[in-house]
């Protein structure tokens, strides 16, 4: 494999245009994927890493067309398997910047297991899950994140199963970096992606994404301009969890649940509020926050450090070489017991 030359020290300057491919973007007009693409391209450009060191790996779905639109190496693989393909890409060449793009169906339905294992292994890849709570590409069946009772093409009488919560799932899968953002929160999305890029290990980011055709307005009650302040808590590390129009509300611990309180009412002050700690070794806070519905918690739930899988794997190679010397092929072929015929 070619050695990666540019180090972070000699950060280069790139523009979004450098990262834009010549392929015509083929999402529906108004699809949330456009905004995510724009945000991501800007983040890639800003990292100062040459294009050739990026690999975009995706599965199948509308979201998974993403790699075609990024002028780096790209691999549009098969349904659900992107994390597994990415594992091979990254293990074979740990210098690469590997970004996985997946959907709620691709990532949580057919691909749930690969996702779980990639997360617990802590491979240094970044996984963006575009969650539109529907199957877009196959024209509108319900997905594992669709709400209970969802009427879709495949569930004309409503779905009968409990959705899975991607953030809770990622936490239970031992992910070291877990975040949530939304297609229409561009600056927030970019800051989260930037933090993910900095994180040395696996990063999982759920991105709430609107599918105008098959699930329009799925996140209206979370992200619509008129209510979003009251319906979102944006996590800030080390800061109390304040939200709401005029920042008048906050989240407070009540037993082992969270409650939403009004600042100033009943004597509640900032001091009573939960303070976010992204780096807490204990997952409890992050997990508890992931369960909230109204308001929905956005931002980085968890960001802890553990050596990454590919680093550990390559260290073993290095250690073995140091301990036993660079492998000698003839020695290996000969094995332990030989005899000579003359």
């Amino acid at each position: 494999m070619p050695a990666i030359t540019a180090s972070k020290a000699e950060k280069q300057k790139f523009t979004k245009a450098d990262f834009q491919s010549n392929q015509e973007v083929r999402w529906c007009p108004g699809c949330g994927d456009y905004a995510i693409l724009t945000g991501a391209l800007q983040v890639f450009a800003g990292l100062g890493i040459p294009r050739e060191n990026f690999v975009m790996v995706s599965g199948i779905g509308c979201s998974s067309r993403f790699p075609y639109y990024v002028n780096t190496y790209g691999f549009h693989t098969i349904h659900g398997r992107a994390p597994a393909v990415a594992t091979g890409v990254k293990l074979a060449n740990p210098e690469l910047q590997v970004w996985v793009i997946t959907g709620d169906g691709d990532g949580m339905s057919i691909g749930g297991n690969h996702l779980m294992h990639a997360l617990r292994r802590n491979l240094d890849i970044k996984i963006l899950m575009f969650n539109n709570r529907i199957y877009g590409l196959t024209k509108g069946q319900y997905s594992p994140t669709s709400e209970y009772g969802k009427v879709t093409k495949s569930t004309p009488f409503g779905s009968v199963d409990q959705p899975v919560n991607p953030v809770s799932f990622a936490l239970a899968s031992e992910a070291t970096f877990v975040a949530r953002t939304a297609d229409i929160y561009l600056p927030h999305l970019q800051s989260v992606l930037n933090r993910a890029a900095e994180h040395k290990g696996v990063a999982f980011i759920e991105i709430l994404q609107n599918c105008v055709i098959f699930n329009d307005g799925a996140f209206k009650d979370v992200t619509e301009r008129s209510i979003r302040d009251d319906e979102n808590v944006l996590l800030e590390d080390g800061k109390p969890m304040i939200f709401g129009k005029g920042r008048k509300k906050g989240l407070r611990l009540k037993g082992l649940s969270v409650e939403s309180v009004e600042l100033g009412q009943d004597g509640v002050t900032e001091k009573d509020l939960l303070v976010h700690d992204q780096r807490a070794e204990d997952q409890t806070l992050a997990y508890m926050l992931s369960r909230l519905d109204h308001p929905t918690v956005m931002g980085i739930f968890r960001d802890v450090t553990r050596p990454s899988f590919e680093r550990r794997a390559h260290e073993q190679v290095q250690n073995a070489k140091e301990r036993y010397g660079e492998g000698d092929l003839l020695d290996l072929i000969r094995g332990k017991e030989t005899w000579t015929i003359k």
């Binding site: 070619p2 491919s21 392929q23 098969i78 398997r81 091979g88 890409v89 492998g327 072929i333 000579t340």
Partner: protein, 641 residues
């Protein structure tokens, strides 16, 4: 080497070849005994072939028939090709082992039995109403009823650091010592092996070594064994440095060799599955060769990771068995569409479904050929003997990388676990494997431009400046690789992928014919049937008749001259451990009336079975039909209740 201990024998009977089988409970150490015996035999310079056979359970219930583990070896002063049809010597550690195997023993064969387990309970478990060692049921054999376990215990009496249970478990070494005496073997290699193996428990090491020597000495002191003192002279073979090697070892070693020769990092992705797991275990040891082994969450992930690693420029290999190959189908198809070089090893076992996981079979050939949706051509190779796995592992890697295509290597349970002496090649004898990644040359990069000769596309790996491009599972446009729904492009690409694989025929040797060029009958085979066919053909020729043999090691594409070879003979017979897969392929390709000779018993053909088939064809009789021993039991012909 340590000399044999005072061999108190007047004269040893010379034999040309012998087949020995060890059998006992899965806990009796039968496989270790077999391995040690094999190794020592190999070092003594005999040609040999082995057949381990063990139950699917980790520790099947002690004393039961399904719990019996066996190991057979044939060794000889001449070339041999199979582990032997029937054992000449059988060592049985308990009644169940006796029951399962004694009928295979040749008339007047040597039967050594450990008397320890011949109690009521164990005899009942094996279904013996009376003690076979005492009634006259074994009178056709030269029976040695020996208190092997008891003698082992006695020989270890002084050893205090070792528990009684551990001592008892040394009985296999006692039996091995006896076998060594019978065949006049040097104890040195096994003594050294024990030392090395148990270096952390010197007590155990001493116990095993003592038991080994005690077994040897016991025969040496016991007159009765004089009658079975044999000598099998070394086989005359090509001079050189030799070792004994199993198929899985050879495969793993070949992969490392391919990595070293090509300068490509070896990436091995796998999920454990019998009988392929040992390849993973072996490769995981060789990290100082830069090998990356990845135990994935399942076979889909293993295959997908291998495809990803191939994209990244590694020498990328996946290993599995039938059920795992089924799961790899979709991701292999992605490798076909994206034209990435990957090697997939399928160590075939009894199917369908979980089937007979520890038994051998050749029934994945058509699956390898057609087992993906759409027109999905891949190259297919199959080594013929355990040691050939070494060269074919390299060859699979060479073809994958040179032709930018997935290659399936079909091994099987018999090749994987069987072993044979192998002349260790010089590094200079190994095939060249030059690989070049694409580099930017100032012109627009075309990821699907074709090499004129091979039709392969360039291997452009991430990290290479200027070659950024996208690949994927949707149909790709000629040259650019962009997604294309163009009807004519799709047709062209389908034909192109097929032509690319077909052109490998230019890069592989022609099919060789052994035996009599002017015979009427050609025996054509593939994979692990080689030995049995070779041995059968030799017997035909020894009987003064003519026969030709050709063995396909390349199944797709077939060697250029295959049609020509097939059409040269009046009759063609094709022995396979399946229901007729290669014969179907050849018939469809060449319209030649290939006669299938099939067996599906989880074990390889014996030479005799193939011989009978050849004779039938020569004499115009029908060959044996598998499963024809008795009619199916239907509701009308089995007695209910």
């Amino acid at each position: 080497m340590q000399k044999p201990l005072a061999p108190g024998v007047q004269e040893r009977k010379r034999l040309e070849h012998v087949t020995v089988r060890f059998a006992g409970d899965s806990g009796d150490g039968v496989q270790i005994t077999g391995d040690q015996f094999t190794n020592t035999t190999a070092i003594a310079g005999n040609d040999l072939a082995t057949l381990p056979d063990y139950p699917a359970e980790i520790r099947a219930p002690a004393g039961t028939l399904p719990g019996v583990s066996g190991f057979q070896i044939q060794f000889a002063a001449t070339d041999i090709y199979t582990p032997g049809d029937q054992p000449d010597v059988l060592v049985a550690f308990n009644p169940a082992a006796l029951k399962v195997h004694v009928n295979d023993l040749v008339q007047n064969g040597v039967l050594i039995v450990d008397t320890k387990k011949f109690d009521k309970i164990n005899m009942a478990k094996a279904g013996y109403a009376t003690n076979p060692l005492e009634d006259s049921s074994l009178s056709n054999y030269r029976l040695f009823s020996e208190p092997i376990t008891d003698m082992t215990m006695r020989s270890l009496q002084g050893l205090e650091s070792v528990s009684a249970r551990e001592k008892e478990r040394c009985k296999n070494f006692f039996a091995l010592g006896m076998a060594y005496w019978i065949f006049n073997r040097d104890l040195g290699p096994s003594l050294r092996w024990i030392q090395d193996k148990f270096k952390k428990s010197p007590g155990i090491a001493e116990a095993c070594q003592t038991a080994l020597k005690a077994g040897y000495n016991y025969c040496d002191m016991t007159d009765a064994f004089q009658a079975v003192a044999y000598e099998i002279p070394a086989a005359p073979t090509k001079p050189g440095l030799y070792r004994n090697i199993s198929g899985n070892q050879a495969l793993a070693t070949g992969l490392v060799a391919a990595s070293v020769r090509s300068g490509l990092k070896l990436f091995y992705g796998a999920y454990p599955i019998t009988p392929a797991s040992d390849i993973l275990h072996e490769l995981a040891k060789h990290k100082n060769f830069g090998v990356i082994t990845f135990q994935a969450e399942d076979e889909i992930a293993a295959m997908a990771a291998v495809v990803g690693a191939a994209f990244s420029g590694a020498l990328s290999v996946a290993g599995t068995a039938g059920p795992g190959l089924a799961l790899k189908s979709e991701a292999m198809s992605l490798a076909i569409m994206t034209e990435l070089p990957v090697v997939v090893i399928d160590v075939q076992r009894g199917g369908p479904s979980t089937g007979l996981p520890t038994k051998t079979e050749q029934a994945d050939l058509l699956f390898a050929m057609y087992g993906r949706h759409g027109e999905s051509p891949v190259a297919i190779l199959a080594p013929a003997t355990p040691a050939e796995n070494f060269l074919f592992a390299i060859e699979a890697c060479r073809l994958a990388v040179r032709h930018m295509t997935p290659v399936i290597l079909l091994s099987d349970g018999y090749l994987a676990n069987g072993s044979e002496p192998w002349r260790i090649p010089e590094l200079s004898e190994l095939p060249e494997m030059k690989t070049e990644f694409a580099h930017a040359n100032g012109k627009e990069f075309m990821p699907y431009a074709r090499d004129e000769k091979t039709l392969s596309r360039p291997w452009a790996v991430p990290g290479t400046p200027g070659l950024e491009h996208r690949i994927g599972g949707l149909e790709s446009r000629e040259l650019t690789g962009d997604v294309s729904y163009d009807p004519h492009n799709h047709e062209r690409m389908c034909v192109l992928r097929a032509a690319k694989v077909a052109r490998i025929a230019e890069d592989i040797p022609p099919l060789e014919v052994m035996g009599d060029e002017d015979a009427e009958v050609l025996v054509i085979g593939w994979g692990s049937t080689y030995g049995a066919i070779r041995s059968a053909c030799r017997r035909v020729q020894e009987a003064g008749r003519k026969v030709a043999q050709a063995h396909l090691r390349y199944l797709n594409p077939l060697p250029r001259n295959t049609e020509q070879v097939l059409k040269r003979y009046k009759k063609v017979i094709c022995p396979e451990i399946n229901l007729g897969q290669l014969s179907h392929l050849l018939r469809g390709r060449f319209l030649v009336d290939v006669i299938p000779l099939n067996k599906m018993q989880g074990s390889p053909f014996t030479g005799r079975e193939v011989l009978e088939g050849i004779e039938a064809v020569m004499e115009g009789r029908p060959v044996r039909q598998p499963g024809s021993d008795r009619p199916f039991l239907t509701t009308s012909n089995y007695s209910e209740g």
